[in-house]
């Protein structure tokens, strides 16, 4: 088995209202960052997993996002493989 470090980024789909992001954008404006046009808030998950190869790891991660980690009605997800190493 190979050990993988993956990063999953989950963000609201474009067009879905993000009241929390808007509140942060308004607060940044209040701090004087007048150039801020919008903030969209999402989630980052760093996942350590073992799989036979990178294809299996990626396919597992996609299933995890579809079945639990993301709500695909309102959210999109992106998977990045950060590192891999063969366990001794």
């Amino acid at each position: 088995m190979i050990q993988f470090d993956a990063r999953v980024v989950i963000a609201l789909k474009p067009g879905v209202l993000d009241p929390q992001g808007k509140a942060s954008a308004d607060a940044l404006g209040g701090l004087g960052f007048s150039g801020v046009q919008s903030v969209r808030q999402g989630k980052v998950m760093d996942i350590e997993l073992q799989a036979a190869d990178i294809h299996a790891a990626r396919s597992d991660l996609e299933a995890m996002c579809d079945r639990l980690l993301a709500n695909t009605v309102i959210e999109d997800f992106e998977i990045a493989m950060l590192s891999e190493r063969v366990e001794a």
């Binding site: 879905v16 009241p19 639990l68």
Partner: protein, 223 residues
């Protein structure tokens, strides 16, 4: 009549629901734990109560929706058994995919705890059958994530299939829900999810008894 009330770690309106069901139907409901894999034999209806299952971690209702008992609940719902989800129970039904759309943070970003006026838009659910279409009643809400959202296609399908069951009456929308939606059913009408808490307007010491009609309606349906 045998009602099953499902309890998850973090449910906190379960006892209110159990009391309301027992008072209205004259029979104490079965209490089913989230880790069970089956509903008790002879179960006629399932209720998912409010609360903060799994601390609202990940998304409200997301982890509860994948609990082992939910496979049995989904099977029963798909066979036509009456299912009611209140507040966090509604969020769980949405996350399970038994109901469409999503429930997001209230548009105000504030937790709301107040009484609202509800309008019955359709009464196909066994729980709503004692109300006339257009009839109004008051009921409390208490939630931080009750803002119902869906895309245009889903909204049209909800309207075309007569799935919008309850709306907040004019001017009382507490959370920014699209089209003032407070509760919806599945296409068949047997699965109802709603944000307001009818179990808290059901007992003699409550400010009103309107919510009791949900459980009486269920009793009429089953018996």
């Amino acid at each position: 009549m045998a009602v099953a009330v499902v309890v998850f770690p973090g449910s906190n309106r379960d006892q209110d629901m159990i009391d309301a069901v027992e008072h209205a139907t004259g029979q104490a409901p079965h209490v089913v734990w989230h880790a069970d894999s089956d509903l008790p034999t002879g179960t006629d209806a399932v209720i998912l109560p409010g609360g903060f299952s799994y601390g609202d971690y990940l998304r409200c209702g997301a982890i509860a929706a994948r609990a082992s008992v939910m496979t049995a609940v989904a099977d029963a719902a798909n066979r036509g058994m009456p299912v009611l989800g209140v507040c966090n129970g509604f969020q769980i039904l949405i996350e399970t995919g038994l109901l469409p759309g999503a429930l997001m943070r209230n548009a105000s970003l504030h937790f709301v705890c107040k009484t609202v006026e509800l309008k019955v838009v359709h009464n196909r659910s066994p729980f709503l059958q004692t109300w006339a279409i257009g009839e109004k009643w008051t009921c409390p809400v208490a939630h931080g994530d009750g803002n119902y959202v869906c895309d245009d296609t889903t909204l049209r399908a909800l309207q075309d299939n007569d799935q919008i069951a309850l709306t907040y009456a004019d001017g009382t929308n507490p959370n920014g829900s699209r089209d003032d939606i407070a509760g919806i059913t599945n296409k068949a009408g047997n699965v109802l999810g709603m944000m307001p808490h009818p179990e808290n307007v059901s007992l003699p010491h409550h400010p009103s008894r309107a919510g009791e009609r949900l459980f009486k309606g269920l009793l009429d349906e089953v018996e």
